[in-house]
Symmetry: D2
Subunit: 170 residues, 4 copies
């Protein structure tokens, strides 16, 4: 089972400070913005509920991050970014999925774009799912892992971002 | 992640020759009946597409059975038997799920019953999902495994059923 | 980590009724012979204690077989058949290994041959370790699995041997 | 399979700047000292070659650390610290073990102490095997993980130590 990809013409490293474009939040009673999380490191797991590698590896990894770091310092979010089988993964299905898989962090449904690619996926130039995004304390996308990630490397990268002084990266 | 259960008052061992009640077949262009499979051992994986243990263990086990035995002798079927979150697992979602998880054996959607429990699940007194059912050459339900199953035991049970002469069990 | 192999000129399927040549038994206070196990199916796990695949897969599989079948019908034995690093795997080391890995079935140390290859390994034309051997009720080697084995297939094969009448195969 | 433990009266967190007491190094043609590694973070995997959890989890984790970090910054060492079955795990056996398991980082045999407990194990107050030790750039033992460790947390801890200025911790 390989990760799901869609073509992206841009290069891999892409530093961006775009906001999330989310049509609906789950596991949260209010809208979440990167601006509102300023000062914290944000980890975003971009997934599709019917993507086998997302289910077997991506989401459990995000749950491990949620457990390994204090929520005061590191905020884990899900981004349900559907670019295929859109009718199969509507909000009613996603909600049951999150319940059954015991996902407790907030998950935003990526807003539909003009074409098949949802808005946040487009803005962040994601290559497919699962993608794991690291956002620094100032809200800038710093790392975009597509597919497999080493937990050791990830622990190192998050810690490096945690060590940055907010005033120096703003 | 525990298997999903619903209460059943009957006892565990339940020998039945009920037909399948299926509202729609996937991965098959014609309806499938146990009567039509007379003479073959039939393995039925009863699952829900949003049941984590079904996805992580039940369906891969069924795929292993499909690979380990000749389809001339052993027929593997899926039964999508939804007793919770019904709106989340409609045919359009199931179809995408089967495609993404590369399930190639026929899967029947268990027909809705009068109450929450679908018809085949009711008739076979299934306790929940995943359930793995072994049907002998004469169409009788012989074994009903709920939850974890040893592949060694399963290989042994299927082989025992294969060794039965059809005329002796009819 | 690949299985350890040594060259064998003979062909794969090799039906043999050789006895075991064992210099010392562990987990048994008396010598064990295939003749003495006549009427039972015997499963032999041929391994080396420093072979990674034997440790990670071969021996746990043998332990699963020990649990899945009645010892009245199926007897599991280990054969420590060392064809490399002989000084590293002497009886004192093997004994500690069996204790630490909680191997409770009898294990025989394959007797040294004239060359590097131990006697039973030579007689059975084993290709390396791990090898899983199935011996029928009459003491004949019927199947020799080198490397990976499907538990479903193995459960089927053992059950087929259990179904044979001793008087017909003698 | 639980980790192997021996009783230690001291408390868990134990900051020490003891040198390693090693009777023989493997995978290294010269003796290794913490003093000689000053300026680098040192990760020590304390193990016994016949300890199942060390083999299944501890050593693969150390290999992952070796791959995840630059050897210019993080040095991985093994410490073979035998406090039971001493005759079963002599140098000739350890050498074959390291070869078969493809351990390429230097491994030191912990020097025998007056009692059953080897010298480095005693000095560092290790509770058993596997233990994973993190030594800072100044040679001080900073963290001692006994049993399971999260790779995310470990990546974070190593990165925190890498971020320390040597002159501040000396």
């Amino acid at each position: 089972m390989r990760p799901h990809s869609h073509c992206v013409s841009e290069q891999d490293t892409h530093h961006d400070r775009s906001e999330l474009s989310v049509s609906k939040w789950f596991n949260s009673d209010k809208d979440i913005t990167l601006a509102g999380l300023r000062g914290k490191v944000v980890v975003i797991e971009a997934f599709q509920m019917l993507c086998p590698i997302c289910v077997a590896h991506g989401l459990p990894l995000a749950q491990n991050i949620q457990r390994a770091f204090s929520s005061e310092q590191v905020v884990v979010l899900g981004l349900h970014t559907v670019f295929e089988h859109r009718d199969a993964m509507k909000p009613v299905s996603l909600e049951a999925f999150l319940h059954e898989y015991r996902i407790t962090f907030p998950v935003g449904a990526d807003a539909e774009g003009k074409e098949a690619i949802p808005k946040t996926m487009e803005a962040y130039q994601l290559r497919g799912t699962p993608s794991l995004l690291l956002i620094d304390k100032a809200g800038t996308l710093r790392t975009n892992h597509f597919g497999d990630v080493s937990e050791l490397r990830l622990g190192a990268e998050i810690t490096t971002l945690l060590g940055e002084a907010l005033e120096k990266i703003t």
